[in-house]
Symmetry: C2
Subunit: 291 residues, 2 copies
């Protein structure tokens, strides 16, 4: 297919490369233009704006930082809406507000441009290896049409519901992740303070009812008190802002998530915002006197 | 081996039966004597007190409700200490205080009776099927000697450290479980309030970084708002009392666990103490207006 990809961050650049490798034609654009260069070297065309990138293609993918960035790229005066042809599909793979997603999709629909929200999880490793989980919101025939490109980037691709459902599923993912990281951080800190051999404790727990991906893959960071990337604390906090906006709109009680948000504020104010999210344990350790 | 088993609750009766089936000689005792009957029918001898049960056997297992029960059964005037021969091993499989465990072990040691703390996880199903996880504290040669009996009851048997380490590991298990149940409860409630198809959401999340045993096995309860057993809320709260005692003694900061303890207080005061721990979602749903 003929694809435009806007946003050459760590995630976007790796995802665009996998689309190229799958044999599609790709045009790339990034606000800081030199970030387009590695993709151009791999065979992509470059475009000077989202508007130019979107011209004539079948699919326009956006993977940018936050809600206002998607609004600007999609609807701005050099945005996708200015040039995309009717029937071209916009796939937003950023993590942004579900309600703003519905607003952008409604605006694009006035020009006959369907939109999918398709945020991902699986981190930079998943982006490189094409093994991302992709949570897709939108209409089923549109998801079907975009599938050859989506499947070049991810493995577990789930069509969860209508427009906005992908973003809401990502929000739920971040809520659950927040609580599980805190749970494991508290358990690890209790064990360290009690003088236990934590590798044995993790082994004893990992097959049972308190088992989780975080216990298996991130408790080691917490035991060593070292938090290499990973998924940055400040990015998770950005996602929690989206979660909390949705919780306010819908009236949902999220006391555990609220607690983790405050812990992340503390970590960021201490200068740990670029550590992996498992750094939640850094704060629990500090308050327990095991730094 | 020649085994005494004290405590014929749901867990203890099933565990004693598996020891019998493995070909050991078993003497059973329970405060409410009629609970010994099914085991007697299966070939166990009955004893009128812990003291009588412990006489002449190689291993005495205790599986009772709480810390004072273990103290009474082990050290009371009709307790194990009155009759057990030097070298007989006491294995406490209840979930009780790590620090009291060390005190009981020290007392038994004055008579030459070594003790293991060996609390379990895996629930009544694991007890019936002999697939419990067993977290063992004590000295390595003692663990080795008790292994033929332990392995009749469980699959994942981990010697985590010295006396008390098994109980502390169980405490950590309950800390981590508390947080993961809350995390999944908040995510499920947000999704329900947003009108998502939660089976699809669970499918999208289960292979990724927010995946857990609770998400895979208990989110269904939370989606349906039905909480059959399982593991009772009131028993988990009992275990959290042990956790909080240890946290006070050691000076550990457990804000998420403290939050879950309060949620359990609320559930129990509403009459939901005998529901499965996944009922944490009942309270999050209530406060979010989705009952």
């Amino acid at each position: 297919m003929n694809v435009a990809f806007i946003g050459m961050g760590t995630m976007g650049a790796a995802m665009a490369l996998n689309i190229l490798k799958a044999g599609h034609e790709v045009t790339v654009h990034n606000r800081t233009r030199e970030r387009e260069e590695p993709l151009a070297a791999a065979g992509a065309r470059r475009a000077a704006s989202p508007m130019e990138a979107a011209e004539g293609v079948e699919i326009v993918i956006t993977c940018v930082s936050d809600t206002p960035d998607v609004e600007a790229v999609a609807l701005g005066k050099n945005g996708i809406i200015q040039s995309a042809r009717a029937g071209a599909i916009v796939v937003d793979m950023s993590t942004i507000s579900p309600s703003v997603t519905r607003r952008i999709a409604a605006e694009l629909a006035t020009k006959g441009i369907p939109m999918l929200d398709a945020p991902v999880s699986g981190g930079s490793e998943g982006a490189r290896e094409g093994t991302l989980s992709i949570m897709v919101g939108g209409e089923a025939p549109v998801v079907q049409k975009a599938m050859p490109v989506l499947s070049a980037m991810g493995k577990n691709i789930t069509h969860v519901g209508p427009t906005g459902a992908g973003q809401m599923t990502k929000a739920i993912n971040q809520v659950v992740a927040a609580g599980v990281y805190l749970a494991v951080a508290e358990g690890v800190t209790l064990g360290i303070k009690a003088g236990l051999d934590m590798d044995k404790v993790v082994q004893a727990l990992s097959g049972g009812a308190s088992g989780s991906w975080v216990l298996n893959h991130r408790s080691g960071n917490m035991i060593r008190n070292e938090y290499p990337l990973g998924f940055r604390v400040r990015l998770h906090r950005k996602d929690l802002a989206i979660v909390m906006e949705a919780a306010r709109e819908l009236g949902v009680f999220l006391p555990g998530t609220g607690l983790v948000e405050q812990i992340e504020n503390d970590l960021i104010s201490q200068g740990y915002g670029d550590e992996d999210l498992s750094a939640v344990a850094r704060m629990i350790r500090q308050k327990s006197g095991v730094e």
